[in-house]
């Protein structure tokens, strides 16, 4: 299937520091794509550029059949993009319900109560985001995605600051988005969780990106194993904590 979003040949420098030399990001409807990369490798920068949140030095953004050399997130959002940044997305100034209602009213989106039920945050709808735990805030953000019903979702490190159990739940939700036809791109360092859920893996390193294909192909890529996965690649999904080994 054709990508709905493609950031092609992206170059970006901050002062003297060149972060991206020639990077590409694609989002395909019905696929959950994961972008891996070490801290500082430029994956968040690439996601911001693809979302129109940051201007590239050069490169082009293709979204929903249009090509942009310079574009703002507001313009892409109107066309069906949703971008979750690597910090809290919802405002502390309003309740969750009010913010979801704003999204619903703006885009004639899905039902707020139904989305909250699905994400198990119904009891928190009349709270403000700072009253919720990290996992609950992530769920509230995903409820916003459900209400918006975008064509494409870019989520930058959505697993930050949450418990492994919440990460599993979030992964199921992201997979559900992709199954429903949404193009989903995630970044993160939760290798086992993300590799299990991904349809496609990209790797951002040294200012460029490599399309590694399916998670199985990615696991077999020797450079990716050596430079990114490290020790983890030698373990076959070994649990981090095995309670059966506990001794008194």
């Amino acid at each position: 299937m054709q990508p709905i979003l493609a950031a092609e040949c992206v170059v970006k420098s901050f002062g003297q520091c060149r972060v991206l030399t020639s990077a590409t990001l694609r989002a395909v409807p019905g696929e959950l794509r994961v972008l891996f990369g070490r801290n500082g490798s430029g994956k968040s920068t690439l996601l911001k550029i693809a979302a129109g949140w940051l201007s590239p030095d050069s490169g082009a953004i293709h979204f929903a059949g249009r090509v942009y050399l310079s574009v703002r997130l507001a313009e892409l959002a109107a066309a069906g993009l949703f971008y979750l940044p690597d910090h809290d997305f919802l405002s502390g100034a309003f309740t969750i319900r009010r913010q979801l209602e704003m999204i619903r009213a703006q885009f004639d989106g899905g039902d707020v109560v139904e989305a909250a039920d699905q994400l198990e945050i119904s009891t928190h709808l009349d709270k403000r985001p700072f009253e919720l735990s990290g996992g609950e805030r992530r769920r509230a953000e995903l409820a916003a995605v459900l209400v918006r019903q975008p064509l494409c979702l870019l989520a930058d490190e959505p697993y930050r600051g949450i418990a492994p159990k919440d990460a599993e739940d979030l992964t199921r939700i992201f997979s559900g988005f992709a199954t429903s036809g949404m193009a989903v791109v995630l970044t993160g360092h939760e290798v086992p969780t993300l590799l299990d859920a991904a349809d496609h893996v990209s790797w951002c390193t040294s200012g460029t990106t490599y399309e590694l294909g399916s998670p199985a192909s990615a696991r077999l890529n020797p450079t990716f194993r050596q430079e990114y996965l490290g020790e983890w690649s030698h373990q076959d999904h070994m649990p981090l904590f095995d309670s059966s080994r506990l001794t008194r």
Binding site: A74, A77, R98
Partner: protein, 99 residues
Amino acid sequence: MPLLLARAYVSRGARLWLITRALVSGAFLYLGTNPLRLSAVAVVGIVVLSVVLGFVETYGRRERVFLANLALRPIFLSALFAAPAMIGEVALRVVGAAL
């Protein structure tokens, strides 16, 4: 633009204009000038200051991405912050002229 969204940011604009106007009026009273009969330049300055404070609060609350995801451009946000300030200034001018 949905009413819910407009109401939220217009009320923020109104709050910030009230604070700005109170502080500026206090300063003008201290300087011996009638704060209800300010020059056009001063009035425009108060409106611009209210809009700037609105953006500062929006940036501080990290609402920019949320608003951009709502396809709301900064120019519309400026209008939402400016509207209550302009209405308030016109109302004060009318009151000032009547006194």
